[in-house]
């Protein structure tokens, strides 16, 4: 680990990752009552974050973050601006390199992997960005196809069928041949979701998917996400400021502040009876 650190960054010592079975049974105990998602003894979390630290130059922006996410669970991450939500999400698909700690996906340690392995990992971890990041030179359909053909090596017809299916699922079947510039922000974000879902990832990460949208377009995107959460069984980690969505859809709400997970639990618990005064203050200021 220390070899990977920038020389000015403080060296952070963390214990090695726990063995899978031990971690699973600890998680099973620890997460009781924290999530409305049903998980069974002997089941393993699909994402395991242990002692995750991340620093940019001298500033430590994630401080010993620990979190488990169960297969099919929907976790909503809340927190004030700059609290490290995006950074944590981006560490999970290695858009940021963790400074210390462990991230395991299906009990497979993803830190310290070769470039080829990282690419392989990323096809299993989808991401939806605040700025959509659609490919502007490709049509909606081609945006959804390109990962399938280039990365999954599917043939064109198969990828196209899948793309049309996913576009239909986000209500954009009739926009398949439109370029991103011809679509509204809300439509672009729905294409971005279709693009991520078409890869059939194990985990789908959302980084404030509605924050860049005009208010009247937010609804359509949230409806698509709600549909995914309720009907697809997809594991989702969602950073958002949409409290209504968090309350209705989340199995578990995680509240972060200043690079630390301050509180987590069932939505109704965190929203209505927050234990931590900072959570209460944040939710008070939002509501």
């Amino acid at each position: 680990m220390p070899a990977k650190l920038r020389h000015r960054a403080p060296v952070i010592e963390v214990p090695p990752a726990l063995p899978a079975d031990e971690a699973a049974s600890i998680a099973y105990e620890a997460d009781q009552g924290l999530t409305s998602h049903h998980f069974t003894p002997g089941e393993h979390p699909i994402v395991r974050i242990e002692h995750l630290n991340k620093s940019f130059d001298d500033t430590l922006v994630l401080k010993d973050v620990n979190l488990n996410v169960w297969p099919g669970e929907v976790v909503v991450v809340l927190g004030p601006s700059g609290s490290g939500k995006s950074t944590m999400l981006r560490c999970i698909n290695l858009l940021e390199t963790p400074s210390a700690g462990h991230i395991l996906i299906e009990d497979d340690e993803i830190t310290n992997k070769s470039a080829a392995e990282v690419n392989k990992l990323r096809r299993d971890v989808g991401m939806v960005f605040q700025q959509f990041n659609l490919f502007p030179h490709l049509t909606a359909k081609e945006n959804v196809m390109i990962g399938q053909t280039k990365v999954l090596k599917k043939d064109k017809a198969e990828a196209e069928a899948e793309a049309l299916k996913q576009l239909a699922a986000v209500g954009l079947a009739d926009r398949a041949d439109f370029k991103p510039a011809q679509l509204s922000g809300g439509q672009q974000q729905r294409v971005a979701i279709a693009r991520a879902v078409a890869m059939h990832p194990n985990v789908l990460l959302f980084d404030e998917p509605t924050s860049a949208l005009d208010p009247e377009l937010v609804r359509g995107v949230l409806d698509v996400m709600r549909d995914l959460a309720e009907n697809s069984g997809m594991t989702m980690i969602v950073v958002t400021h949409e409290m209504g969505f968090a309350r209705d859809v989340a199995d578990r709400v995680v509240f972060m502040e200043d690079g630390v997970v301050v509180e987590q639990g069932l939505p109704e618990k965190v929203f209505d009876h927050p234990e931590n005064p900072r959570t209460a203050e944040f939710l008070g200021s939002i509501n």
């Binding site: 690419n119 989808g126 991401m127 700025q131 990041n133 390109i146 990365v151 922000g185 439509q187």
Partner: protein, 439 residues
Amino acid sequence: MQHRRGALLVALALALTGVFATTLAAPRPAQALTTEKATARPNEDGGDGVIGGMDTRLTWEGTVEPGEEVTSVTLTLPEGSTFDGSTTRITALEGLKRMDVTGEAVPAGSSITVNFDQAIPEGSLLRLEITNMQFPSEGGECVVSGSYVSAGAEHELADSKPIETIANTPLQSIVNWLDDQPWVEAWNSNQFLGMFLKPQLLVTSFSSLAPGWILCLGIVVAAYPFAIALGLLFAMLKISKWRILRAIAVVYINVLRGTPLFLQIYIMFFGLPMLNINIDNNLLGIIVMAINSSAYLAEIFRAGIQSIPQGQYEAASSLGMNYVQTMFTIILPQTVRRVIPTVTSDFITAFKDTSLLSSVGVMELMMFSKNLTTVTGNITPYVAAGIFYLIVTLPLIKVVGIVEENIARSERGSGPRPKRRADVADSAAAQMKEATDAC
């Protein structure tokens, strides 16, 4: 001077037709051989004109009057016509009877004498078909005259109706025409206009500079694909992870952009022969232009690639694409669209810069115009060269404007777009402009 001769010829033709008209008005005493007609086969490519100075076939017909016999015919065309290498077919038609006559054709300058092996009997229609002959290259109305031998005595042939022929180069005829225009004379009498914009010289310059212009275009068009490939290579090296590759790219790009093209041309054209490497001038010109442009293109491509927002890399990465896939399917296609205007501008510059090759003897546009100016003592060929450059550059400048506008419009998009995204695009565009302005 050719055009003066042309004018003379026209006058001559006019005089001859005058003569012809008078002969009609006052018929001569009975002729033994009466000219019926004289025609020429069209030799204009895709047209029906008869062009002087190019091979064609002359057909002449005459009737042998009753009680006469003809043993030899001489046809004479205006000065400048040639019968070199002519082959002749002689036919005599007597009523419906047709006989092939043998004979010997003797060309002599602008006339040809055909001696028949047997006399052509009375009442026959004599037809002479003479191939591989040429009318004067100045063109004009060509009257066939000549003589014939009947019963041992030589007689004059009546003139044929004139055959219309076209001057060999349309250009020449334009020059001839211009020479005769009073306004041209007035125009040229102005010292400035006569020295910089002499109409006749402008016209001749266009034809004599054309090969130079074609060579300029050829050099830059041949060089450019290599320049683009090299430019892309060095752009990739310059943004590479490895410091050595970046250093190589920086040295290459900065040395080439930091020294005059003129110097690079001198080094290559004078340096390589000293190493006993002898490359054809035009080819070497292509190589120098390609290398020089590649340095500028490398910077354009680098700036273009770096103007693509980070989010595009992240989106491609999050789909699991590797670096090569990301570059070729996501980043470069977007870069191409963005750099089209700047690349076109560079192409315009490269095209103009081929003029520097004249200093080392490449026969390009400047070289031709310099030679013509030296010969004529007139600046007009340089002006003609300028017009040749503009024929290429003005449309391209227009293209740059249109493409820039299209890009601006499509980046704005038609649907409502999130505000921050627009900012990202703007700052990327600004960043790119900054980078290319620095070029």
